[in-house]
């Protein structure tokens, strides 16, 4: 094989490699926690499909119309910028519903902006050694307040959850963990001396302006593998009521695959835009035509 042939084969293989990688990245769903494109056990596809949710995959800086008809569900695993927080505050103030799901305390940034009425405790895990699903790290929440939001709920199963610290009487606690629960600070699964014992608030709400903010100390209860356990789905249905649901995916912590896929999807969407696609098709057709003409010229066809 001549060196020219080798080069062309190399080029061909690189192109094939890049296309294959691109297709793999595009069609293998990213296994990112809480991602609505993740159909595996740790994804959010089921809840997203069932609630017919709109995905937010850009910063929440855009104006939100008709806030009283919208529920935003957010898992704020990455930091919000000030503009986003202001936008969220205006959204709730004007009648919107915000559901904050967090088990690490990342949401405290948002909660501080809303008046610091409630805090999510970080670096600890709620363990219920008695009322649980399989083991204490999957605690069953069975104590609910007298509130229409949790009226028909008997049990909600959490997964490696945290707890809430209520700082203001303005907050209404909707659910508590059982008196057998405790905060496992050293994560050994045993209630050691000095570790706080329950019940702990785990679901709470407070009003802000004419809207309402729900704070739930575990985002995992809506995972594909968790949503049909207990009354988990019923709970989220109660909270969203009949409003249209927006799920914030922008503030999730993705992986490389997720990020690359996001960019590829953006590029593909851009290429398929009605204003762009005709030009792309024209360029593609022209290049094929040029190739055919070159081949014909080589063969001496005039």
């Amino acid at each position: 094989m001549s060196s020219e042939d080798k080069l062309s084969v190399s080029k061909f293989m690189i192109i094939v490699g890049v296309i294959t990688a691109g297709l793999l990245v595009l069609y293998v769903p990213p296994a990112v926690d809480f991602s609505i494109t993740n159909p595996f056990w740790n994804g959010y596809t089921v809840v997203s499909d069932r609630l017919n949710a709109t995905v937010i995959d850009k910063p929440l800086t855009f104006p939100i119309k008709n806030p009283n008809k919208i529920v935003i569900i957010t898992i704020p695993y990455s930091k919000y910028i000030d503009l986003e927080i202001e936008n969220l505050k205006n959204f709730v103030k004007n009648g919107g519903t915000l559901i904050i799901l967090d088990d690490y305390g990342y949401a405290n940034q948002i909660l501080r902006a809303f008046g610091d009425y409630v805090t999510i405790i970080n670096n600890t895990m709620l363990v219920d050694s008695l009322f649980n699903y399989r083991n204490g790290r999957l605690p069953k929440i069975i104590e609910f307040s007298e509130d229409p939001d949790v009226a028909n709920i008997t049990q909600v199963v959490f997964n490696h959850a945290s707890v809430l610290y209520i700082l203001s009487p303005k907050v209404k606690v909707l659910a508590y963990s059982s008196s057998f629960s405790f905060l496992d600070d050293n994560l050994n699964g045993i209630c050691d001396p000095g570790e706080c014992k329950g019940p702990f608030p785990v679901i709470a709400k407070f009003t802000y302006g004419s809207g309402v903010v729900y704070v739930i100390s575990d985002p995992s209860f809506l995972l594909n593998s968790m949503i049909d356990i207990g009354d988990n789905y019923k709970l989220i249905l109660n909270l969203v009521k009949d409003k249209s649901v927006w799920i914030d995916q922008y503030h999730l912590k993705g992986n490389i695959h997720y990020q690359i896929r996001k960019y590829i999807v953006t590029v593909v969407n851009w290429l398929l835009h009605p204003y762009i696609s005709p030009y792309i098709t024209a360029v593609f057709m022209m290049s094929i035509l040029i190739m055919i003409m070159r081949v014909m010229r080589k063969r001496g066809v005039s």
Partner: protein, 650 residues
């Protein structure tokens, strides 16, 4: 190139797909897969729950046994435990029911014996005996079930000596003992009543005439708050017994009436404070006076349906309240009849906070939580007294007394100060969680050993200028909010300032300079190391014999030492050192490597053994590495040589 690109691409893909399975969030995993999650059981918690269950069954705690048992459906139990737990729960419920039944029947038998209706009392006691027998049998079955459960739990027990496990096991054992004691008490009572009934039967003369009493009511259903008419006839051998005393025992009232000339009796009973669907009215004829020699006692009963309206109560109470601050509790009572007043009582830990009347269905109460109330959970009880046909109602919940959150912001204007003239300001603000400034509150600032006490101004702010403390380096200033009000917690925050202590720096510098001058003038003379005569370490005698002088012999031997095959830059240094050491300690063997030589002389050259070891290594490097030695190594080797030779010179 192509292969490399493809491999990198595939690796990137693999890593990116695997990344979510690697915990990146922190120490705690965000979740685990529920369908493959390990099934775990905490025997301590399960035992604690059984302790509660037994307390409820024995009535030692105000808990509802049935509702507690229902909670078991939420308990995470492995399948191998499930059967025995269900069986144990059923047995506990059964023993509870049997004991209750026995108690009720014994009470009834006691009443019948009181009115000398011995035959019927005997029948009732027979029934009680059967229930008690079942209770006793079940209690032993419970013991067996507990032992079985304990054996099945063994594999889940991590630490059998866990004090919590030991305590709960002991408490369960105590509960079982108390259960046996309770059954024994009931058995004693049963024996006593049976004896009384039997004695009564035996004492009754056989010639006494049997009497009969009938009982009727004007209605079969009665509303609470209304009157019911009870009537009937007392007779003996179809002959009415006039002017005889009849005792009517009912849950509403106990009264006595006399029969008329035709043996009829009639009484009006006011139905009140009774909110159960059925009520039994008993009538007794107990012969007195001369009748005791002629007639036997008589008893009859009837059951009526009681109509009442169940009062429902919804209480909206905060879960968290603050010591010294009012708590607002709203009470909704329904159904509500307009124009009435209902009596309501509110208690916290059995201490009455309100006891009075409300005039509307929905009422709000401002309750003052005592500022001495301890932080932690307390029991809130709301009780609505019954009114006419409206039943009473009770609400119990846990009220957590806690501190009200505050925000303490503290900062310093200058985080680097110079002692003694430097100053810095500590300033901050104290607010409640709603952003309201906390005015005239005490702030304590501790800097080193000094304490400053300040008060917050109208904006909740404080500010103090502090002289730089006498420390060096980082100094932590502790700012403590010490509230007057009990509902605020004591909160401390620390801020850091770095202190440049000029005084101590000058003192240190002066001291060092002084030391320098002192030692230059009076240098330290190290004590002379006594020359020790080295022990000969080898029996080997070189075949080279001294011809001119000892030094010549050693030099010539070392030059012929087999290991030195070339000439380098460190080797001559090493040779010079070995010449010196050999002259004192002894010659190396021709077959020795330089490392072996070191080992041999190590114990004899203790003051310089490290230096000689380092030199040995450098020499080895030059001999065997095949690399060019660095200049720094040569310099170092020269220094080492000087050190070693200096010591040997001494």
């Amino acid at each position: 190139m192509v292969k490399l690109c493809s491999t990198i691409l595939l690796l990137l893909l693999l890593i990116s797909i695997l990344t979510p399975y690697i915990p990146i969030y922190g120490e705690i995993s965000p979740h685990e897969r529920p369908d493959t999650a390990s099934t775990e059981l905490d025997p301590v918690s399960l035992s604690s729950f059984y302790v509660l269950l037994f307390r409820a069954a024995l009535g030692t705690e105000n808990l509802n046994l049935t509702s507690l048992t229902l909670l078991f459906k939420y308990v995470g139990l492995p399948s191998e435990i499930l059967y025995i737990v269900n069986r144990l729960n059923n047995l506990i419920l059964k023993v509870y029911s049997e004991i209750n039944q026995t108690s009720i029947l014994l009470e009834r038998a006691k009443l019948l014996i009181e009115f000398k209706v011995y035959d019927e009392a005997y029948e009732v006691l027979d029934k009680a005996r059967l229930h008690l027998y079942n209770a006793n049998k079940t209690s032993f079955e419970i013991e067996l079930a507990i032992n079985e459960l304990r054996s099945r739990l063994e594999k889940y027990i991590v630490n059998p000596n866990d004090p919590r496990l030991v305590n709960t096991s002991e408490e369960i054992r105590d509960s079982i003992n108390r259960l046996h004691e309770l059954i024994n008490e009931l058995l004693n009572k049963l024996y006593k009543l049976s004896y009384e009934a039997e004695s009564g039967i035996n004492e009754q003369a056989p010639w006494l005439l049997t009497t009969f009493i009938s009982i009727h009511t004007n209605v079969t259903e009665i509303k609470v708050g209304r009157d019911i008419e009870v009537y009937g006839q007392l007779y003996c051998a179809k002959e009415p017994l006039p002017n005889r005393k009849i005792d009517i025992i009912s849950p509403f009232a106990n009264l006595s009436v006399f029969t008329d000339e035709d043996g009829y009796y009639r009484a009006i009973i006011h139905v009140f404070n009774y909110y159960r669907p059925k009520a039994t009215i008993d009538v007794f004829y107990k012969p007195t006076g001369e009748d005791r020699n002629h007639f036997r006692s008589a008893h009859n009963k009837t059951t009526i349906n009681v109509l009442y309206i169940k009062t429902r109560l919804i209480v909206d109470a905060p879960k968290f309240v603050y010591p010294g601050l009012p708590a607002y509790v709203s009470v909704l009572i329904f159904p509500w009849f307009s124009g009435v007043s209902r009596k309501v009582a509110i208690y916290i830990d059995n201490e009455t906070l309100f006891d009075g009347y409300v005039n509307s269905s929905k009422s709000s109460f401002k309750l003052f939580i005592n500022d001495t109330t301890t932080i932690g959970p307390h029991v809130l009880k709301v009780y609505v007294y019954p009114y006419m046909e409206y039943s009473d109602a009770m609400y119990i919940s846990i009220l957590t007394v806690t501190y009200k959150g505050i925000i303490l912001a503290v900062d310093v204007d200058n985080s680097f100060v110079v002692y003694p003239l430097g100053k810095f300001n500590v300033y901050g603000r104290v607010m409640d969680v709603d952003g309201n400034p906390l005015v005239n509150e005490t702030i304590e600032i501790k800097v080193a050993n000094r304490v400053y006490l300040l008060s917050t101004n109208l904006n909740g702010e404080f500010n103090v200028s502090i002289d730089a403390p006498f420390t060096f380096g980082d100094c932590y200033i502790t700012v403590t909010f010490k509230p007057v009000e009990k509902w605020y917690p004591i909160v401390s925050k620390q801020v850091k300032v770095t202190v440049m202590n000029v005084t101590s720096s000058i003192v240190v510098i002066v001291f060092l300079v002084g030391m320098l001058f002192f030692f230059r003038r009076y240098p330290i003379r190290l004590p002379k190391i006594p020359v020790q005569k080295p022990k000969p370490y080898i029996t080997y005698k070189p075949k080279y014999t001294a011809t001119t002088s000892k030094v010549d012999t050693i030099k010539s031997f070392i030059n012929k030492w087999v290991i030195f095959k070339g000439i380098g830059r460190i080797i001559p240094i090493y040779k010079a050192v070995v010449e010196k050491i050999s002259s004192v300690v002894g010659l190396p063997k021709p077959s020795d490597t330089i490392r072996e030589y070191y080992r041999r002389v190590e114990s004899h050259i203790k003051p310089v053994k490290d230096e000689f070891w380092k030199l040995t290594l450098y020499t080895e490097y030059e001999l065997y590495s095949g690399k060019q030695v660095k200049e720094s190594m040569i310099e170092e080797a020269t220094k080492l040589k000087e050190v070693i030779l200096r010591v040997f010179r001494r």
